[in-house]
Symmetry: D2
Subunit: 384 residues, 4 copies
């Protein structure tokens, strides 16, 4: 029996702000990233957890395995025990927290969207680049091995030259007209509506598949214009969009469209797209995230059809989770890949992807959609 | 044993121009409409078939069961044996043939689109109304019992107030870049491209589900800009669109989108749509034309999900074809319903639907899409 | 303008007994067989229709286009106007009617199952062979072009050597425990239960795909043991089986299983099977009758998956109905193929398939299933 | 900032034997069980990892986060640092390791199947009961929240009284005839073939859904009778079954069937079943493990259909992983639930499920299948 040999590389201290949906996924991902992915992922220490109130922070630190807890994020971003700061708070806090963490020289893993406004996002990107810290943004769906496979297939010419793209991302968390009014309905606290919550994920996939967007024309709509106040005192206006749709021109000349709704009954995570090529088509739907649809104009016509490819070890890094195909990854596994990607990049002193610059590019598109919808004009991304 | 008693109503003489894809479906539909639908459908006589050359007309008249054949359509539309004229020729002939038939006082069953231009379509509509003849246009997909059921569900409030619509119609008959150049690629002979072939079907469904379109902004693209000439002498330009997408505002205020491609590998008849409501969603895909997807925000959340409803006798007139659910109607059965609808309307001396006026309204939308794409401007349907 | 040239071959006089579900499909099929399939299909005349009472026969003769009507089937089978007799009555009448028609020298197109007992089926087969008349039995599902394609794929080695087979056929027409007791529940009038209604269709497909059955062990069960009498006077026993399942050995040595239920809620026509081979798998489900699932161990593992092949003109005779793939055939179209097959065989003076001999072989299997279930013993088909 | 308060309950020392497919899933599950499930799950320490050779053990201990490593499992099961022993080695070692661990007073979490023979399994069960240690067996699929939901729906009468059951479990890891011969093909080292690898999982679900099995009749087959030896010296016999199918009678009187194949091309983890009831049906397929199909005979016939229910927080403990429905759990998450269940049971000093007694009951069924297939006789479970 022998003591386990430790890796020589530095153990990274992790500070996590927020313990909600995303906060928990970050914690779980940090806990297993090295165990899943193996060599290359540095050792980490769950150093400090921040949430409010203080007892919530303590309780969750115990559950998630953090050594210490605080209710002051400023203490976290400045703590000498912390090398990496994960920001999983409501969107309006990302800006201030990230800037402060960068100033303190921390690497920053921020949830999407980067910020409420494009100006803030740009400032965050610039600050990170100037400080030379590593960044990562939680566009988790592009970490899906089957998505990476789709990109590889396209790159290898499996569907020929791309000629068209369509994408959708729908959920139903705001579909019920009787839901109470919350901060999510305000420009000041939430910024964009479905575009910020969902649309930017679709953009991250579209750009990965087809490349950068050149210009667009768009519409958006608030389909539930008011919502009842929780105290029963009447109704308040919903200030941001429930649906948005854009006609896109990619830089490559390909046309396409993007559409999103947070009021689409029955859709739980329908982040779906189809890439049309001169030799075939590839389609995907996040609600069946372990499947890819591939049609190729090959072989006898009588035997052509869409193939349903099940994710497996042939699609790296699926095999790091499971050596058997068709056994399925889950949502949280995408965050493990994301965290491992970031930690490895830090250890190897190189840029991760998607970093703040990538996220800024994605978010330019959703802000362009909103601007086009407001102005009824074509927006060129280069003009933003 | 007794002779079959004949109905007292007049036996309608049928004249059919064209024996291609649609021509054959018309002939089959006429042959079985009464047998399927029963009382109310008048007796018919397959009086005269027109095609060129003459021997093709004769051969097909024998196969399809027409009493006589001709290679001159002018003789057909003026024949005293003919009460109803079916026009299933290439689109560019519809205008002249329909006008001539109307002038001769015949009822006209014309394939879609009515004409190459909106001006022609308007003239056809006006001529029919002035002459008082009955008309029908081959928007067969809206005759699907499961589509009628979807409309009824919406009308009955099954998904609440409509808040969004999306539709697509894709095929791959022009997906192969190596296909030869044909008349289909020309403005003069084909007019619109995918909008005329496919897009108008989607419009017919969208209007049935959500109502009339108020305005739109659109893009279109010719993704295969040239095609090889059949004689190997080089390449010729494709003049009409392979893809088109529009952001739609319906008169009701609902936003939505329509998209079509004739170059979508793997799609054989993907005429699909989803209607988002405040209480649920209904979805359909013509490639599974006997199925309807219905989600309703009803009952425990733990048991909610999209229901796959299989067409059956509960969805009239499915039961006229088959008393057993899930046994499935086919494409040609839709034409039987269409033909029966038309013949019955003639016998009862009332308007059928969709008639030339309905078709004109549908086709206004596809021409508006093309005009918006060309001018990069919002088009109001009332301005056309 | 010219009179249509008639084919020289004899016009076949059709006599149809029964106007229910199957009766109507026969009539529709006769009406369109030649129009769909073209040359080779002889001309027919809808000579005589039989049903009871007489006014029902007359009314339906008018609707379906028969020249005469009768309420005496004996008159029909002996009529000199009738060359072909279609029998679509309840199963218990098949035996007597078919024998009488054969005695009168008529060709016989009988619905499945041939008879209530295997002895009767054998007598029918022998009588037809002795008389030299042509026969056809309504195992319509094996006329599906996509089924024919599956058989061709297997024959061409697309999935290698067959190693296993599984099949199911379920409906829910007897799923409701509150349904009234009818003749369907009796051995005397209905004979077998789900095996006779549904199971024999599955056998017809299994044999087409894998070949003849050598032996089997089976179980069956009446899951609703009594049903309320229509007059409210109590309950009566259900005498035949609601479910049956068999472990099969094919003559080729392949093992497999068959299972059927008429009490399977939600299944409307789930006639489904999967053929496992050394190189791949083929699957089918009648509820999506225009689709075939094909998996092949070919190409990179990362791109393998089940292909959904949509029926199209590449799968003859789909193209006779429609030149465009994915537009879908319906249930009634299968009867058109069946009728055309039979009429053509008569005109060409050769055997059609499946004839009485084929049907007898199929039905031996369902009777073997019932016998094994009753005796709890392995049944060898050669012992029946 | 405050130190995290530790729970007062004892920290459990974990010893894991094996670092293959299952070994890794155990390690990952232990790492996150408390973080996911929260209070109730005791703190654990990854004390000792065993594998051979020693450097593999050390390397994996480092990756998976174990404090120490060994290549002698005897040292692990006797280590005072170890309270819980996870056994994830090849099946033939389970018996000896589990008995030794039990003798040492350790709680045992063993992968399925318990043992190569039923006698061994019984001995393991008895030893654990006598020693009073807690046990758990890796029947992970029954830990799926959507499976628990299916059981609850059935219990609540959502589909009425159960009338039939069908289940299948197929993979294709032995589908290729050219795969080399391995120990998996031997009775001595592997015991049962597909029944032991896959079939027992299906049994665990069938029993959960319908209850205990009373008797069965079965067949099995080795479809690839020999396999090439790795050294190219010829072929060796495959001694265990590639496929097996059983006709089942449950103690409740319900009939059903089970079928399994490890040579089913294209199936990656098709563990699927359907439960037929008097009011509806529930179906599941592990390849879409986050979906449940539910049909209920409720509401208008025109709106009935199978509902696809997506797993979400309404199906506990999904919400512990993710508060958003449709975001999907993965295979490894099932092991987290399993591990958390076991650890919690240990902390609360009560039996977990499925323990060795449950596993013994499941495995009786697969051995009964094999015995029936060998003897061609009905096997009553009570006779084993």
């Amino acid at each position: 029996m022998s003591e386990t040999t430790k890796q020589s590389s530095k153990t990274l201290g992790i500070g996590l702000i927020g313990t909600g949906f995303m906060g928990k996924t970050h914690a779980l991902a940090y806990r297993t990233a090295k165990a899943v992915m193996g060599e290359g992922v540095p050792d980490i220490k769950l150093a400090l957890l921040c949430d409010t109130p203080a007892d919530q922070a303590e309780r969750m630190a115990n559950q998630l395995g953090f050594e210490k807890a605080t209710d002051r994020w400023q203490d976290l971003v400045s703590s000498p025990d912390v090398d990496v700061v994960s920001i999983t708070t409501p969107n309006k806090f990302h800006f201030e927290m990230a800037l402060e963490a960068i100033r303190a020289g921390k690497h920053v893993y921020c949830e999407k969207p980067l910020a409420l406004t494009l100006e803030q996002a740009l400032e965050m990107k610039n600050a990170a680049e100037k400080a030379g810290v590593r960044t990562m943004v939680g566009y988790n769906y592009i970490k899906n091995p089957i998505f990476a496979h789709a990109c590889q297939l396209i790159g290898a010419g499996a569907i020929g030259r791309i000629v068209h793209f369509r994408g959708w991302v729908d959920e139903d968390y705001q579909a019920n007209p009787d839901l109470h009014w919350t901060w999510r309905s305000t420009l000041a606290d939430a910024g964009l509506g479905t575009l910020g919550d969902l649309g930017c994920h679709l953009v991250s996939m579209a750009c990965g598949l087809v490349g950068p967007v050149e210009s667009l024309i768009a519409e958006m709509q608030t389909v539930h214009e008011t919502r009842p106040l929780p105290d029963g005192s009447g109704k308040a206006a919903v200030e941001n969009e429930d649906t948005a749709t854009a006609l896109i021109r990619f830089e490559s000349g390909v046309h396409g469209s993007l559409s999103t709704s947070r009021s689409a009954w029955g859709r739980k995570n329908r982040l779906a797209w189809e890439v049309h090529g001169t030799k075939g088509m590839i389609c995907f739907d996040q609600e069946r995230m372990n499947e890819l649809q591939l049609y190729q104009n090959e072989g006898p016509v009588s035997e052509q059809g869409f193939k349903t490819i099940l994710a497996g070890p042939a699609h790296a890094p699926y095999g790091n989770f499971c050596p058997a195909p068709g056994h399925q990854l889950g949502f949280n596994d995408l965050k493990v890949i994301e965290a491992a990607t970031f930690l490895t990049a830090i250890a190897e002193d190189r840029e991760a992807s998607p970093n703040f610059a990538d996220a800024y590019a994605f978010e330019k598109v959703i802000h362009a959609v909103a601007q086009s919808a407001r102005t009824e004009k074509r927006i060129r991304l280069s003009d933003l």
